[in-house]
Symmetry: C2
Subunit: 158 residues, 2 copies
């Protein structure tokens, strides 16, 4: 369980943790890889969510997955980009939690994932929580916690 006072400070800017769906670039399942590559290049992100036609989150697509899909042993065949659909190569096993999300779960997931997708109970894409926002909170705790709290090591741990 997360400590009560540390938890409070972690959550001070909780409303900023979630980047809402309308600010997150995404791509449709039925798009082809040439389109995915253009979107990924233009926005400068390396991974983006893949949504279906009803805006439900279904996977992630990355530059690596796109290039990997057209790469054989030592050769990259860029002609294939227009033939393959995003849904055929997207990553379907990814960090996804339901809104309202639990901070403890998010913290654990962010150790292994650079962002966590958040969805409503029906799967509709709500947004993402990124490592960057949690690192801002870590900075705040590192710098401010002991200004605001008296802290004394418990006897059994001295």
């Amino acid at each position: 369980m997360i400590g009560k006072e540390i938890g409070k400070m972690l959550l001070e800017n909780k409303e900023k943790f979630l980047i809402p769906a309308e600010q997150v670039a995404h791509i449709q399942m039925t798009n082809r890889l040439d389109h995915a590559l253009l979107v990924l290049t233009k926005i400068g992100y390396t991974v983006i969510p893949v949504l279906d036609s009803t805006y439900k989150i279904r996977g992630l697509i990355s530059m690596s997955l796109v290039i990997d899909a057209i790469t054989s042993i030592e050769d990259v065949d860029f002609n294939k980009l227009g033939d393959i659909r995003v849904e055929d190569v997207m990553q379907t096993d990814f960090a996804l939690i339901e809104n309202p999300y639990d901070l403890e779960e998010v913290l654990h997931l962010l150790v292994r994932n650079s962002f966590v997708c958040v969805a409503a109970s029906d799967g509709s894409f709500t947004g993402i929580v990124t490592r960057s926002e949690i690192l801002k909170a870590t900075n705040r705790i590192a710098h401010e916690f002991e200004n605001k709290y008296d802290v004394k090591r418990k006897k059994e741990y001295v």
Copy 2:
């Protein structure tokens, strides 16, 4: 300044923060982009350090930079991949600190950068510090700090 006790807990696994150079995939400045693309795809990372022939760190190269370099308005010309050198498109403005590094500086840099490069004073590449390791420390502090310390809000902040 980072709080004394929080700082101690943050640094408990400091030796694990730095991923040493020999475990970090890198590429040479004079390599061409086709090689860079293959390395990036094979290792599954999206950004890797660029070293010169004396193993000094000189920049970063990413999938986005590679694809961007061969992309005009709406077209991607993959034939150019073999013609362009990594040094011509690499990012030379990146997060770099000197070893022994300061935790406070690393924490600040990791808010905007997914990893920070660490070099010796002569520029030789020492390794990287990633967000993932700091997030592990954040988890530890969130879960354990108040088990080990008595924490009381200061009067002026109640």
